[in-house]
Symmetry: C2
Subunit: 299 residues, 2 copies
């Protein structure tokens, strides 16, 4: 259901776990696009320890949405981030899906309550928002809507766990869920520091990969600061360093993506990363991410 970057990556993961996958996407070149993506994902899936021979054996393409939904145990919608489109898709999905089907949306921003508005039976519809690329990175934000039944949440968690993912159920529905809010907060200051000329785009990235990136792949911010607080833990840390954080909070930047800022960031990014093709960038990123994941698994 929607076979762009996210949908194709989900498809590759589902296939590597032996699931039968029916893809529907109205775009003309969907078959070529998905098959290319599945092929590109195969080495990463293999490195994760999954079988990758004949991945496309259980892959089918449907010409109509209804054909893909009929008889499916799970629907993972991954269409463009457009609320009206997703509402229309789920109204149609709801009419065709069996009563036991789990209806998941990869939406990164719209609440299940809004997406399911046109559904007469939305009790098994909820958000399963992956972190890109879904076939590789573990986290999936699971966010029920107001009309989602608790068993559907448990089923979604079980489904993603069976795929080797780390599903995390949010206790409240907030705009941007957790991941995009954290990224937005972090990226805002990144943009500010480059715009102010403190560092370049490339220098900022180097700071992140050589400092907090390594730390936050090993331990989250709370555990890191808990350990940083010595035997007194997070309480000691906050009592000591809290005021310094509060002082910095007052002076953090509040940039906008005006043309000057977008131009500056884009020009620096093109200068720094432009030598590598899109394909190389993806491959390098995935190779490194895999190496980290596998190193941590052995730890």
């Amino acid at each position: 259901m929607g076979a762009g970057v996210i949908g194709s990556s989900w498809t590759a993961l589902f296939l590597a776990h032996g699931l039968r996958v029916s893809v529907w996407d109205p775009r003309a070149d969907v078959e070529r696009m998905v098959c290319d993506s599945v092929r590109q994902a195969a080495p990463a899936l293999k490195a994760l320890g999954l079988p990758t021979a004949n991945l496309a054996r259980k892959l089918r393409f449907e010409h109509e949405l209804e054909g893909a939904v009929e008889g499916a145990d799970v629907v993972q919608e991954s269409a463009t981030e457009d609320l009206a489109l997703k509402q229309e898709l789920f109204a149609r999905i709801g009419q065709t899906a069996g009563p036991g089907s789990l209806l998941l949306s990869s939406s990164s921003s719209f609440p299940a309550t809004d997406i399911s508005k046109g559904m007469s039976a939305p009790s098994r519809m909820l958000i399963g928002h992956p972190y890109n690329p879904p076939h590789l990175l573990p986290l999936v934000e699971v966010v029920p809507g107001e009309r989602t039944d608790p068993p559907a949440v448990a089923d979604a968690v079980a489904f993603y766990k069976a795929l080797g993912k780390v599903p995390l159920v949010l206790r409240k529905d907030v705009p941007g869920f957790v991941i995009n809010r954290l990224q937005a907060a972090f990226f805002r200051e990144c943009v500010h520091l480059v715009r102010e000329g403190v560092v370049t785009v490339e220098e900022l990235d180097s700071i992140v990969t050589n400092a907090m990136g390594i730390r936050w792949a090993a331990a989250g911010p709370f555990l890191s600061f808990h350990a940083g607080g010595g035997p007194g833990g997070l309480r000691h840390f906050l009592e000591h360093i809290g005021p310094a954080f509060e002082r910095l909070w007052k002076v953090l930047g509040e940039p906008k993506f005006d043309p000057r800022t977008v131009g500056l960031l884009s020009a620096q990014a093109e200068q720094a990363f432009g030598k590598m093709s899109y394909d190389e960038l993806q491959k390098t990123r995935d190779r490194k991410q895999l190496a980290i994941m596998n190193a941590l698994r052995r730890c």
Copy 2:
């Protein structure tokens, strides 16, 4: 010069690189504390490929600051984060150090211009702010003050590079430098989301380690979004996703470290991480960080 957590970790790194180190710290148990830290750092240094036999052979303790500074090629001050104290120390360091000595402060927040206020010859004094633990994590923020001479900056970069570090010279001096501003921006939203009951401390950490931690250890935020923008790169990404970021920027939280917040975060941290001793927490963190760094080196 100051042998707390940071000073001891620097000491271990310097010794592993064969440098002669003279430590001065007025606390009574300095010798035991530093020797313990050096011993604890040894396995990590070894895993980084450094020699660790007889690490303490070139280690000396001095009873007076002047004894440690006299004849030193490099001074790495790592005292408590207290401006008046650092000013007093550098006034004394400046009187004793030879004209060619490089005078570095591990300060995480005070500008070199302020710290060197009482020095008559501050041209070789600047900030070398490491990311904790300095013997392990690569990044060092190098920040000259208004009166620092450019050759001293080049010497600091060369010094840290020779130690296997990744020194990064900031182009402007801003409060919190880069690392602490980025951490403050990120942590503010972490605190907000826990305070609002969207996730617990432990769940937030799990989101970070299973999503952006892995990504940001592999590629910084700009390269990640440049790759996420497809063949159109960062420009395409910002033109498409920029407005969604701007909407989230408007709704990010603005918590304070009031007693209720500190209490809530600390209680959750103690429940989640309290089973592990401080020593175990550090060892686990460092083992994972090392595994990541070594995996990326082979990549």
